[in-house]
């Protein structure tokens, strides 16, 4: 059945194989990037939500701390 479908659309092979190749390339690329990425960048990004409450390491954020959430409970 699937064969029949494939045969009835022109160039369908490219369509299916293309989707798979894209999929594989995309994930390989992503994994390579994730492995090679700069550690400082990752650290800085992961601290983004927390930095807003207090002056950041780079001294970039400096607004008033409202309060610390769970510690206030």
């Amino acid at each position: 059945m699937y064969k029949d479908i494939l045969q009835s659309i022109d160039g369908i092979e490219f369509y299916a194989i293309g989707a798979m190749v894209l999929f594989i390339l995309f994930f390989i690329g992503m994994i390579i990037w994730v492995i090679r990425v700069d550690k400082n960048y990752i650290k800085r990004m992961s601290e983004l939500p927390l930095k807003e409450d207090k002056p950041g390491k780079n001294g970039l954020m400096n607004f008033k701390n409202l309060q610390g959430g769970p510690n206030e409970l």
């Binding site: 479908i5 659309i9 990037w33 960048y41 990004m45 807003e52 970039l60």
Partner: protein
Amino acid sequence: MELEKFSYDNEIVRKFAFATTLWGLVGMLVGILLAIQLFAPVFNFNIPFLTFGRIRPLHTNAVIFAFVGNAIFMGVYYSLQRLCKARMFSDLLSNIHFWGWQLIIVSAAITLPLGITTSKEYAELEWPIDIAIALVWVAFGINMFATIIKRREKHMYVAIWFYIATWITVTVLHIVNSIEIPVSFLKSYPIYAGVQDALVQWWYGHNAVAFFLTTPFLGLMYYFLPKAANRPVYSYKLSIVHFWTLVFIYIWAGPHHLLYSALPDWAQSLGTVFSIMLIAPSWGGMINGLLTLRGAWDRVRENPILKFMVVAVTAYGMATLEGPTLSLKNVNAIAHFTDWIIAHVHVGALGWNGFLTFGILYWLIPILWNTKLYSKKLANFHFWIGFLGIVFYALSMWFSGVTQSLMWKQFTTLGVLQYPNFLETVLQIVPMYIIRTIGGLLYYVGVLVMVYNLVKTVKQGSFVKEEQAEAPTLAKFKDPLRKGSYHRWLEGKPLTMLLAALVLILIGTFVEFVPTFLVKSNIPSISSVKPYSPLELQGRDIYIREACNSCHSQLVRPFRSETERYGEYSKAGEYVYDHPFLWGSKRTGPDLHRVGSKYPNLWHYLHMENPSSMSPGSLMPAYPWLLTNDLDISSTESKINVMKSIGVPYPDGYEKIANAELEKQAEKIAIDLQNSGVAAEPNKEIIALIAYLQRLGTDIKTNPDITGQAGN
């Protein structure tokens, strides 16, 4: 360094926080009413607006779009401003979004009980409301993107990626699934029919779960969990992998809602494969959430906010393992159409969405009002009673689902069904329905306690409407991490990110849709299948209005237990004129696809008037108003016209004689009923409904040539 002063808009966050709480109370209350009606149908008080079929979509829509929807917006408006270090782009757009969304909810709350529905699950709202949703959604999108563009923080935190993917995917889903031709101001037919309509609907339905109940909440998790735990997310790298794999894979999995259906087999298998693949990113996300608390578990014991969040993330993990399990054909054969699915969605809704929302509310409200939470004890109480509620709910529904399914499939040693009477399998699980209701009530008590706690908190604090902040502008901002890379380029550009997410979801969409839509052989035609007569068409719309498809499927699966019980299994070609398809997703009552000519007209007449007169002990509600309501035939001509415009082959000029045909057929049924001893009039709604029910699944009975079956 020069700093810019600005303020965060907390007012819009407050509005959405109120809205999510209010609609949560409403939506869950309707849920409890429904749960009670399932074992005591008398609790519809014989009012059409309160029957199960009409308020079931009210419950689902209220919980998904009102409770969860407003919670999403509350979290997005709070976190986006802070992550972008910028006020929302436009207060006006924020308010248009808020009030527009509430207006849509109110219009849903009015139209659904009136029976104004498209019948498509989680997309029941009729076309004018669909347009309103699109407009409000666009307002939200413009506001969000403009805020991201004017941000003062160069990099976009992963939560924002989830918001972007949510926005673009929901846009695509909503538009594609809402393509319908209006018949009148509040009635439309979808351009898709039968199998294609089913595929589009479940591509939508599944991804509404994925991109409305999951991705935005993951964004919230990645923001609020680190905030509440006061530590960064366990692995930011993992969150990147989590994001891209989830966005790519989720969109393919829709057909797992249609296993063993008349959908072509290859599409079903595609759905299964991608569902299994989904375990990887979903568990990656769950592990990332839980490990954020590594070394801080002692605080979970102390802190109710973290408790809520831990259970929410765990429920996410459980539901996303259960989902792929249910997508396996052998498991689905047992679980589909049963309460197991109800258990599954409620682990997600009560656990993941509910508990994460509660956790965020407990964290956010004291901050917005610059105070402390009124009572930690009450929050702990809420946690435990809510948790207990989920346990009661899920266990009873798992048990009920498996029990009933096994009863449906049980044969005696003589090879006949052991429980040929469907009702017997329903009555068996009534105790589970009662336990489920208790679970729901416990959960609701918890929510009431939360509302009390939050109101007290609000009263003791003072609201910080404008939160002052300062940050360097982006232009003056120098990235301390100068080393460039591809992904940093990508996540620095919101529109590129949006396009990348769009391309990813469209790949899966096209692979599923194109063959099903373009290739005729996927839907083999059956020559004896003819369009509905005008009376049947009107009857079908009454079936839709009363949402009979909430409890009755129209899809006999190719199992011996089903063909024995219902008759020949359903073929794709039988549905080619079904705009919309009415396969249903739950069998609270028996399948109806082969109900045509099974019973005399009189049986249906008396059954609709009082179901237990025909099936003693039946839990189906009565529909006495169908016997007295006059059938509105003024719409027949436009209905036929619309059907013709979307490809149903009525002869030329048929719309002009349609009502004459309708009356002829109605007269015949009425005379038959009168001969059986009831004073039925031909112009009542019940006549049209009987005509439709008697037609169901009979086309292939008139012609034994059913060789053109779907490609299995």
